[in-house]
Amino acid sequence: MREIVYWYDSVTSTNDVARELAEAGAEEGTTVVAAEQTAGRGRYARRWHSPKGEGLYHSIILRPSAPPSRAPLLGLIAAVALAETLREDYGVVADIKWPNDVMIGGRKVAGILMELETEDDRVKYVVLGVGVNINQASFPEEIADVATSLRRETGMIYDVERFRHRLFVRLQRWYEAWRAEGEAHVLERYEQLSSYVRGQQVSVLCGERRVRGRSRGLAPTGALLVETEDGRQEAILTGEVTKLEVVS
């Protein structure tokens, strides 16, 4: 995977631009970076707050030769790369909230949204959208309690482009390792970096259904395994995880 970067001043969403490039045949590793997104989005059309120059807003085109069922793992790979970058290059204690929110002190510092395009039951491409809060000094009231930035955690201002490149290098390493050797190693690393996925009392909201139990690691698909109170094991593919505090 080569690092090919397109910089934009302002776009609706970097995922939209990356999809157009992917449709036009752009090779994997092609990256769309924008100083600002006017319609940055998260899961299910939630807005991603994207003020100019303060965060990293970017999307990377990937073309793994894998069946579509393997594609969700790319989000876990990206979360591992993000958490490692924050820990090892910036010295902050980053955690991964399953599946791929990156947290510092219980607040979200980075989020991922991927879009998959298939063709004849194969992955045609995946657009990996990653937003990282870097230099925001404050957040709008509605997300002030749940969001944080690298600046808020360390009191320093950072070069956004340098962060992007460091993240790309780590992502590239894990992505190539996954393609060469499969998912075992990256899932093991994920478990080391996440306080949520093993031995934690969790509550998972899956649509309108709530699953409570103890997390039991990850399935090879990346699904979160939860052992419920009646002893069943569920493999969860979509859901909002919260930790349950033990009240003594």
């Binding site: 899961r43 594609a71 790319l74 791929n100 991922i112 998959l116 569920e234 493999a235 593919l237």
Partner: protein, 164 residues
């Protein structure tokens, strides 16, 4: 690969009750898929269970299947003869609208073209927009909004346009 080896693979896959099996070699590709996710009752009573209950338990942590109260969707064999069936390419959650406040992408009775977005399947924040690959009319929607779907599960039946 010869016929004998192929038979051996099919036998193994059946015995181990894999939901899906894929093998790829430079010159050939094999994919075996079971029709429906085995329901709990079916598994308990099946003879195949006895065969696979050897000490070498397969370390397959319930592949993909969210043990949700999945609405059993029988394979629409009759529909398949008449309509074009759109199936899910991944295991995930089925969404009929782009966000909770928007209307559905399509309704029964709508006319669609190749490329018309029908729904989104989500798995671990991976969104897969499912588009129609033919022109026609949506005649059935098999899954409720927000429900889990299995690999290959029928989502929509499309009545193809008839050529005049």
């Amino acid at each position: 690969m010869n016929i004998k080896e192929l038979k051996e693979i099919i036998r193994l896959v059946a015995e181990k009750e894999f939901a899906e099996f894929e093998l790829e070699q430079p010159d050939f590709k094999l994919r075996i898929r079971r029709n429906a996710p085995p329901s709990l009752h079916a598994v308990e009573s099946s003879a195949a269970r006895a065969v696979s209950s050897s000490p070498v338990a397969e370390p397959m942590p319930a592949p993909s299947a969210p043990a949700a109260p999945v609405v059993e969707t029988p394979p629409p064999l009759e529909d398949e003869k008449v309509y074009h069936i759109i199936r899910s390419p991944i295991v995930g959650t089925f969404y009929r609208a782009p966000n909770p406040t928007a209307g559905p992408f399509v309704e029964v009775g709508d006319h669609v073209e190749p490329g018309t977005v029908l729904c989104i399947i989500e798995a671990m924040k991976l969104m897969n927009e499912i588009t129609s690959d033919i022109a026609g009319e949506v005649v059935k929607i098999y899954v409720e909004n927000g429900q889990p779907v299995e690999y290959g599960q029928p989502l929509f039946a499309i009545k193809p346009n008839t050529r005049a």
